[in-house]
Amino acid sequence: MKVLIDHISKVYIDRRGESTEALQDIHFAIEENEFVVVVGPSGCGKSTLLNIIAGLLSSTSGQVIFEGTQTDSRPHTAVVFQDFALFPWRTVLKNIVYGPEESGVKRKEQFEIAKRYITLVGLQGFENKYPHQLSGGMKQRVSIARALANNPLLLLMDEPFSALDAQTRTLMQYELSRIWEETHKSLLYITHNIQEAVFLGDRVVVLSRRPGRILDIIKIDLPRPRGEHLTLEKKYLEYADAIWGHIKKQAREAMEEAG
C-alpha cells in the first residue's frame, strides 16, 4: 500500500469572493509503514493538506490516491488533532471504541481492541474517566489510541503535541516513537517544530511559507529505536540544521516583505 499525494493545490475562496492560495502543487508519496513528517512555518497550509488527505476538505486540483488497497468500507485514515477532539460525553474507553463501533465490530471484540490500545498508550486505570478529568498529555494518548483502534491504512497527526507544555511534549515524542516502532503504521505527521520532525520521521517534507510548496524532502537516516540519546548525535543536529536553513530563509523573506 502506498499513498500518493498527487499534485495537490488549494485555493480558499471566502464569502466575499477573496481568494487565499494555501497550497501549490504538493506531490509526494507515503510508502507502506513509513513515518513521514511535514514541517513548515505556521500558516503555510499544513492543516489544509492534512484535511484534504483525510477527506475532510476538497482540493482545488490534484488527488489523493491510496494505491494497492482493496476498496472496502473500512476508513482509510484516522486523524489525531492538535486540540484532541475527544467526545466529552464518552469515557476514555468509549472514545477509543468509537471507530470499531462505526465499522460494526462486535461488542466483545470492541472491548478487546480497546484494551489492546489502552495498554499500548499506557492508559490503564483511566478507562472510565471522562476527558475533562485528564491532563493534556493523557487526552492526546486517548486520541492516539482512538485513531489506532480505528485501524486506518494511514494515520494522520496534525501538530498533536503543540497544545502541551514543553516537558510533556518531549515525553510524548518519545512515547509516540515507541508506539510507532511497535505498530509500524503508515503515518503522516505535521509539525512546525524542526527537532520534532527529525526525531520522529523517516522522511521530512519541508514546506515553504504560504502558499505552501515543497522546498525539500529529506531522508532521515537515523537508527531506531530512537530515544533521548539521539538528540545529542551529530547527524541529528545536521539534519535539523539543514531544515532550519530552508525555513530561516523563508522567515527572512517574510520579515523583509512585511518591513
Binding site: 483525510a54 475532510l56 477532539a85 467526545f87 466529552p88 468509537y98 471522562y130
Partner: protein, 271 residues
Amino acid sequence: MIGKVDQPRVEKAIVQDKTHFLQMKEHPWLSTASFIAILLLWEWVSQMAWVPPLFLPAPSSILSEGWTMLKTGIIFKHIFSSLTRILWGFVIACSLGVMVGILIGFFSIPEAVGNPIIAATFPIPKIAILPLLILWLGIGEASKVAVIALGVFFPMVINVYTGVKNVDPLLIKAALSLGSNRARIIRKVILPSILPMIFAGMKLGIGIALLLVVAAEMVAADAGIGFMILTAADLMQTKKLMVGLIILSLLGIFFNWLFQKLERFFVPWKQ
C-alpha cells in the same frame, strides 16, 4: 531639582487584597431565618386584624384551608387536571422542538423554510392564540394542551437550533474521520452535544407551561388550579386562592429540582 517632589516618608505600608469585597460570603442560616421572619410578620399583621382577612388571610389559616382541601381530596382533582395538561403539552412540545430544531439546524432546506415561519410566529403571545385554538379544537382538553405545547415548543426549538449551530465542528470532523455517516453524526455527536441546551429549554419551558395552563383554565375549564383560583376569587375565598398560588410555587420548585436531577444524571461529563 526639577520633577522631584518631596514624598512624605512612611515607615511601612502593608499591601491589602483589593478584591476582598468580591468574595461573596455565604449566609446559609440567613435565607431560612428571613423567610420565617417574613411569614411571622405576615401572621402577626393578620392576627392584629389591621388588614381584613378577606384581603390578606393569615398564613396559618391558609395552611389549615390547604389541609382541609388535602383531606377532602378536592385539591388532588385540580392538581391532577393541570398536571395532565402540562404533561401532554410538554412532552409533545419537547419532542417536536428537538426534532424540528435539529432539522433546521443541520439541513439547509428545512432551515430556509423553517426560519421565517418561526421568526413570524414566535413573537405572538401564545395566550392570544388560545381563542383560535378553541375555535379549531373545541373547548375541551385539546385546545389547552395545544396552547401549552405551542408555548413550550418555541424556547425548545430555538435552544436546540442554537445548540446545533454551536456544535464543535472539530468533533464532527473527528466522527467523520472515524467512519460516521450523517445520520450517525446526528445521533452520536449532535444529540449529546445539545443535551445541556435541551435541559435549558425544558427549564424555560416548564415556567411557560405553568403560566399557560393557569391562563387556559381561567378561560374555560371545570377543573384545574387555574379554575380553582378563578372560582375562589369569584366567591371571595381568598384562603383557597392563596392555596392555589402556593401549589403553583411548589410545582415550579419541584420541576426545577427534577430537571436539575435529570440533567446531573444525563449529562455526567459536565461537573
